[in-house]
Symmetry: none
Subunit: 249 residues, 2 copies
């Protein structure tokens, strides 16, 4: 059998069934596993499949790619993400919300970190799945078209039954006197439940959002524990938040 023929057959198999196993291919094609492995490697190098240990997967299963340039204030969010990651330890149970900062956390999560994540956000979940050692549990429910997260009583009920070590909460608006606020009733309900559920709540916010207020209140600042921004902890604009009882990172 010609090499190209063999590779075309492999590619076809991957495209039809989404995955192939190396040893199966070796049997079916009548060549050594080494040869199949090299074929898979070539197809992967050509970007036609995704090579994984013991076989290969169709590329369409990995279409979710996110373009860092499109994210507003990308630099700041990366700094925040790094700080947040420093709080994570192996075997923690971490509740994580949606938003681009949390997406960035999921993206740059150290590969060897073994954490169990609970999330209500579709995009955060998608990104977490790319991580080799993270386990991801999605709290299901009715999906909000705007926020792209699970909302509704079911989610709150599920949140009441768990006790995560940490909640990484993306914020919409944050103010020393008005506390944590947001725009959507459904989202507020979920965030309230998340904060109540977690042992510690970490607020993630770019400094631009400091001192801004939205229409619906989630909670006062003292109900959260840690605030992470891209600024130095001693920065003047953070003093009011430290005074409100938040630990600043």
């Amino acid at each position: 059998m010609l090499k190209k023929e063999r590779q075309a057959l492999i590619l076809r198999e991957v495209n039809i069934h989404n995955r192939v196993v190396l040893s199966d291919l070796s049997n079916v094609l009548g060549v050594s596993e080494d040869t199949v492995r090299r074929d898979l490697q070539e197809l992967a190098d050509a970007g036609k499949i995704v090579k994984v240990r013991g076989g290969a997967l169709s590329k369409s299963y990995h279409v979710y790619s996110y373009q860092e340039n499109e994210i507003y204030a990308y630099q700041e969010k990366t700094i925040i993400a790094r700080k947040a990651i420093s709080l994570l330890r192996d075997d923690m149970l971490v509740l994580i919300s949606g938003g681009s900062t949390n997406l960035e956390i999921a993206r740059i999560l150290p590969p060897d970190l073994r954490v169990i994540f609970l999330t209500v956000s579709l995009s955060t979940a998608m990104q977490l799945l790319e991580h080799p050692n993270a386990e991801t549990i999605f709290l299901g429910g009715q999906l909000s078209k705007t926020a792209k997260i699970s909302v509704g009583g079911d989610v709150v009920a599920q949140l009441n039954q768990i006790k995560p070590d940490l909640c990484l909460l993306g914020t919409n608006a944050l103010d020393p006197t008005h506390g944590l606020t947001d725009t959507e009733w459904e989202v507020v309900t979920i965030k309230k439940a998340m904060i109540k559920s977690a042992a510690k709540t970490v607020l993630l916010s770019i400094s631009e959002k400091l001192g801004t207020v939205q229409k619906i209140k989630i909670c006062d600042l003292d109900e959260a524990d840690i605030l992470i921004t891209e600024l130095e902890p001693e920065h003047a604009s953070l003093r009011a938040y430290a005074a409100a009882g938040l630990k600043i990172l």
Copy 2:
């Protein structure tokens, strides 16, 4: 034998069998391998065949290679999606699985259709959220890294408590005698529960998957109700499935 004559024979052989092997041609034509190699090279230079090491392939054989970013068999999947959509009615409760065919359904869903979707697939859910009138409920649980769907007992338990009108099930492998099969234990468990839960199950499959078998069985064909492929319902390769009790669309 004249050179032109020889090349015409080679070209015919390539067009009929999609492939030729250099050594075979040398024997059949009674010329040295070098000569055949030069002939193949000329035909390749003229763009009539594709030269590969050890032989040559017909140009159409390479169709599979040149659809990089596109979904595999996109045309076929669109046809299937349209047929599946014809089954949907306002106010139906529809269970929908993952896979690119279901993604296409979600993408081309008529905007005025008011359907409640239940899904375990992250990407299907994402796409459904783009629809103005569809309500989407995500059945949460532990997420499978490979299939990107919720798996585990929780999901099965949730599925047991609902009675959807329709289940749109993307298939991996389908065979008249071996029934519906798949590659992953967790996925099989979920699909079983989906089929059991729904009043009617619709199997979505491109014709290439017909007659293929994977390692783990989901169910026999008679446990599903409708089969949708891109082929005409009367097509010969569908007869065995109709005989097994499936309605063909």
